[in-house]
């Protein structure tokens, strides 16, 4: 008995809700994961970010994967080291209204807002800067979005619209996760440099 393949199931990205977006740190050496723990606790105290904020989980002892998780009912805010790259991820767990493109834009706004809060947090030892020209999108649902070419085809229109807004029309290159067992994931990169502030303004 083994893991069940979903290779025969058609993707259904229109109903996809569990989506995670991640932005990457420009200079990882300026942030120790543990530095973020008090910041996340403070966010809970001051309700600094959207959602019912519950607790902070510390996984900074792990060499890869989530480092520090701000656990919320609607989504997790994660200082994430998956793929060996440190960044901030917003991982949605509860449904959002609207079509996929609208939902992606909402997730993007929530993520960028949290990213900007980290960038402007004076309690952190070094200046934290996120790259405005790189974003990762993961569909956290192997049933509705298996990691296959058909999912990419179905997902592209909404994603392209979202990315075009982020970069003011500049082109993006997409790299898809190759392991078919992994979640459907895309790394989007553009040559057009931008600060997080700029990207956030474009998203509105």
């Amino acid at each position: 008995m083994g893991a069940v393949s979903t290779s025969t199931i058609a993707p259904d990205v229109a109903n996809l809700q569990r989506i995670a977006l991640k932005i990457f740190l420009d200079d990882e050496s300026l942030l120790e994961p543990g530095d973020v723990i008090p910041v996340f606790h403070r966010w809970i105290q001051t309700q600094a970010v959207d959602g019912l904020l519950i607790d902070v989980a510390d996984y900074s002892h792990m060499p890869t994967g989530p480092c520090v998780v701000l656990v919320a009912h609607e989504a997790h805010y994660v200082l994430d080291r998956a793929g060996g790259r440190l960044g901030l991820q917003y991982a949605r767990r509860q449904p959002l209204d609207g079509p996929l493109s609208h939902r992606l834009a909402t997730l993007g706004r929530l993520l960028l807002r949290a990213g900007r809060l980290l960038e402007t947090d004076t309690s952190l030892p070094g200046p934290v800067r996120f790259r405005g020209n790189e974003i990762e999108c993961v569909a956290n649902d192997r049933l509705l979005a298996p990691n296959r070419a058909e999912t990419l085809t179905a997902f592209r229109p909404a994603l392209d619209a979202f990315l075009a807004t982020l970069s003011a029309g500049a082109e993006w290159t997409l790299t898809q996760e190759t392991d078919p067992r992994a979640r459907f994931g895309l790394l989007a990169q553009t040559q057009a440099a931008a600060t997080l502030d700029t990207v956030a303004e474009r998203l509105g």
Partner: protein, 760 residues
Amino acid sequence: MTWKEALGNSVPADLAREIDTYESQLALKGQGKIDDKVFAETRLRRGAYGQRYDNGQRNDGTGVKMLPFPSNGRTKGPDTVWDAPGMQRIKLPFGGLTAAQMDTLADLSEEYSDGVCHITTRQDVQLHYVHIDDTPSLMRRLAAAGITTREACGNSVRNVTACPIAGVCRDESFDVTPHAEASMRFLLGHPDVQDFGRKFKIAFSGCRQHACGLVIMHDFGAIAVTREEDGVEQRGFEVYVGGGLGAVPHQARPFEPFMTEDEILPTLQAIARVFARLGEKRNRARARIKFLVAQLGLDEFRRLVREERAALAHDDRWTAYLDGLPAYGEQPLKTGHPLDDESGSPTFKAWARTNVYRQRQPGYAVATVSLPLGDLSGWQFRRLADVARRFVGDTVRTTVEQNIVLRWVRESDLPALHGELESIGLARPGAGSIADITACPGTDTCKLGIASSRGLAAELERRLGEQIETLDEAVKQLRIKISGCFNSCGQHHICDLGFYGVSRHVGGHIVPHFQVVLGGKWVDNAAAYGLAIGAVPAKNIPEVVRRITDRFVHDRQGAETFYDFTKRVGKRALRETLKDLTTVPPHDVRPDFYRDWGDPREFGIGDMGVGECAGEVVSLTEFDLVGAETQVFEAQLQLEADDFAHADALAYGAMLQAAKGLIKTEFIDISADPNQIVTEFRSRFFDTQLFFDKYAGGKFAQYLFRRHARGERPADRDTARQLIEEAQLFLEATHACQARLASQPAVPPTGNPPAVAGRA
């Protein structure tokens, strides 16, 4: 499309039916048609556990705040909000895992949890922050991979554990894996295990001398033994019953020196029936089988079990698995081949020294994947499954030390295996060393946690990991185990240096502490349990480890073990070594002492406000509590000196003094007369429920009442030891009660007016 539709016939029919029923129960609960308590036990028996803050309240460091979950009053148990995240425990009998199952666990951790799989001290896997609405899909996906969560929690037979190196161990009598598996299959969902007052834990060990099976701390433990009968080797088990850790640990008693293989399952069934019939049901605190064995006496318990066994109707399943035993065994993926001693980099050699065990089968080894705090990410688990496919196939097991072992590694593959593990961040050396610490979830996610066991473990692992190459060899071998509270999920009783979380009220603040537990024994199947020698502020625990290990290196005689060292030097001397570390610096000098490891929040202070008058009276209480702590410690020393009567009297005296201290917060003129103390304590703190623990209710008070009612009957080793454990718990409950009282708004006391002064 749903997972139920997608998986279709991939889920075995029996499991599919059970999960369908469970899903229906979720729907009925939503309609208010199932009682909270009934539903709670229902989900627990499916492994769906509660988690910290699921009552909708959390101290954010500035006070206790409501968490307004959008549940509209819907609950999943008493005081448990529906939408609050929970923990899913996943049972892995004897820790066995296939590569495909690892893939599934990886997927589930990413989609339903926080991307992390946690290996527990009972060879289970736990996922945290799981929404209960996701649990049916999660269970179906597990079932399709051959895993059930049935009876992972709740009052039934929990995961059956066994040595992770069973079948490849150089010292075992024989491979106990098939017996562990058969026990699990036979008892899973069996009607005779559905009516217990508490859980029931089973372990199998292949030998007496090692620790792997931890038989002595189990409700039912079996050690593989052989004997010769008419020139033929016969296999059987040395069977123990009535062990358990928890708040009041008991060592298992020898039930039968040689039980033939074919008697294991019927005897387990007979024990289950006796436990279900005679075990305590109303008082959870005394409902484990250890209390029944103690109450009946071992001989009477044995007689009842044998009587029950004789009356059982024959069941073919008792012995069906035995026919397959001669052919039982794992098939190695590759032909064995020895490792050239010169092979590998220095990093590989350092890893191999601690993480590789040479199997009894020539050319093969077991490689331990040492997991920090038992955690690995979903991505790592999937990659580890690939590593398993490449090197060993489906021969992976979890361990009670929260690690994973890959069995049947061809020795000559070890350098390549190490390289693969390095590439996925799983080549941490030091498995089974002092830097490989066991810790329960503690305050991170457990509702009962008092202090941060994982925070402390992470800090100690970091410090000790940095020093590991320079530590004395004798120190490297020591084991540290940490629990977040006295319930001992971190197994703090059965190691060299044990710690469990407590709190102390200091100058209007609550300070995280850990009790230091010495005198435990990991080897010989957990042959000895340690006892607490004193509470130390959490922030001083790394220094406790340094001082005690330094003293061990300095004062060790020859090849003396740490256990023998602590016995020879004595707890009094070791406690003296730590004396200055028990002091808590003032808040304005060292505010970090008032925060726990890995947590920047002010520790449990909530909206505490302490009046001056209360502070004055509390200081008298503190005086009594210190005196009580001293008496408990003295009781331990008398126990070690085999003066059981004196130990018993001191433990009793400690409870009386602690109770007296608490009474002084309301009635300062309390006398030293035990009758008056117990009467006043009962009316002021028990009848009013002021002393009640949120989860344990009045059980700690009952320890005092029971001992007081017992009068002057003689004590033996077991009763004295138990009373010491109970006195320690009574003291902790007194500290907690005192802290609760101090945190309440100042109001005049109810009941009898104070004779001289009271809490204003």
